[in-house]
Amino acid sequence: MTKYYFSILLTAVLTNNFVLSKFLGICPFLGVSKKLKTATGMSLAVIFVMAMSTAVTYPINKYLLEPKGLAYLQTIVFILVIAALVQLVETVLKKYVPSLYSALGIYLPLITTNCAVLGVVLLNVQSASSEASFRFLASMFNSVGGGVGFMLAMIMFAGVRSRMESCDIPKSLRGLPITLIAASIVSVSFLGFGGIVENIFG
């Protein structure tokens, strides 16, 4: 059973990387990855919010929406829950844990409209309804794995971008185009991870 959860975690981090193979959370990936420090802070905030939202939305879906046949309200309920949760966490952190707030708090408002968070929550409930074994714990592992995968991609990419700073780039490619092409090369490296996970759990 440990192996099962570990394989969910590794799949979410490596083979199904949220940013580089599922294309979720591209905005912060491109926007906040210039410096290692901001990239790390943003990623930690994403991991935190992803885990929190899954922990809150999973029971809402399971004990409120599904039994009452209201599954069609998932999208609207989840986005509001995430928005409210982010606001709440921000207020609480600011008041009671100022040190943590100054490290992560500034990233929180951005995360409400981060599609990776809503994405992971929706994917979790979809998997939960299609396969009986994708229960609460598995959903949590999937969310944390997704967040860690986001962090891995952000940190790797921050490293790549810091190297590009000193390069002589053709004029039309400067800025966003070269960043995207660099992202393309980073995502090639993630294609290779499939084999690793397969060999560990194959």
Binding site: S7, S21, L73, I76, S127, E131, E198
Partner: protein
């Protein structure tokens, strides 16, 4: 301090918007839900006919317990009511999530056809598991099916999709599970 009005008005407007929105959604749902259910039902029926083409009718979902999991299977009959085979729905972990496969098996334990009910693999690679040319590789196989990667075409094995060995293995695992379930059904039939 904020006055009562300052808090109450926005809260009321937001509440009203939510109320109207929920009402609209419930209306749309009541129109589309039966259609969506009918579509899913149709899709399942046509999948069953696709994987077990000889069957004229199917007797509804029977349940089976094996290895701690519950499975539902259907018995396919010809026009005289004789059993021509079974359809099983099994799943395995693919590259992009769970792959759900329906397998048709005739009374001799040979695969008559497979179809993917759920497949979220990489476009252009694993998604090729949906293609007719891949699915037909399973037809006529029985027992425990293997996967050959080098295109060698070993006995009772299917050639893997180029670049999508994980998907091929997952689909094969699901089909092998179905074949195992078939053995269970056969044994139960022999004993009962």
């Amino acid at each position: 301090m904020k006055s009562f009005k300052e808090i109450a008005v926005p809260a009321f407007v937001l509440f009203a918007i939510c109320l109207v929105a929920t009402f609209l959604l419930a209306m749309t749902n009541s129109v589309t839900a039966p259609r969506i259910a009918a579509l899913a039902d149709d899709a399942e029926k046509s999948s069953r006919t696709e994987v077990l083409p000889d069957a004229v009718s199917f007797c509804g979902g029977k349940s089976l317990q094996y290895d701690g999991n519950d499975y539902t299977y259907f018995v396919g009959c010809d026009k005289d009511g004789g059993i021509v085979g079974f359809t099983f729905t099994t799943s395995a972990k693919g590259y992009g999530g769970d792959i759900v496969i329906m397998t048709g098996i005739d009374t001799f334990g040979k695969v008559t056809g497979i179809t993917a009910l759920e497949l979220n693999e990489t476009a252009g690679l694993g998604m090729k598991a949906q293609s007719e040319s891949f699915r037909s590789r399973f037809i006529g196989k029985s027992g425990v099916i293997g996967v050959s990667t080098a295109g060698g075409g070993a006995e009772n094995s299917v050639d893997a999709i180029t670049g999508a060995t994980i998907t091929t293995k997952a689909v094969t695992d699901a089909v092998n599970d179905a074949l195992l379930l078939f053995e269970q059904v056969k044994e139960a039939g022999a004993n009962g």
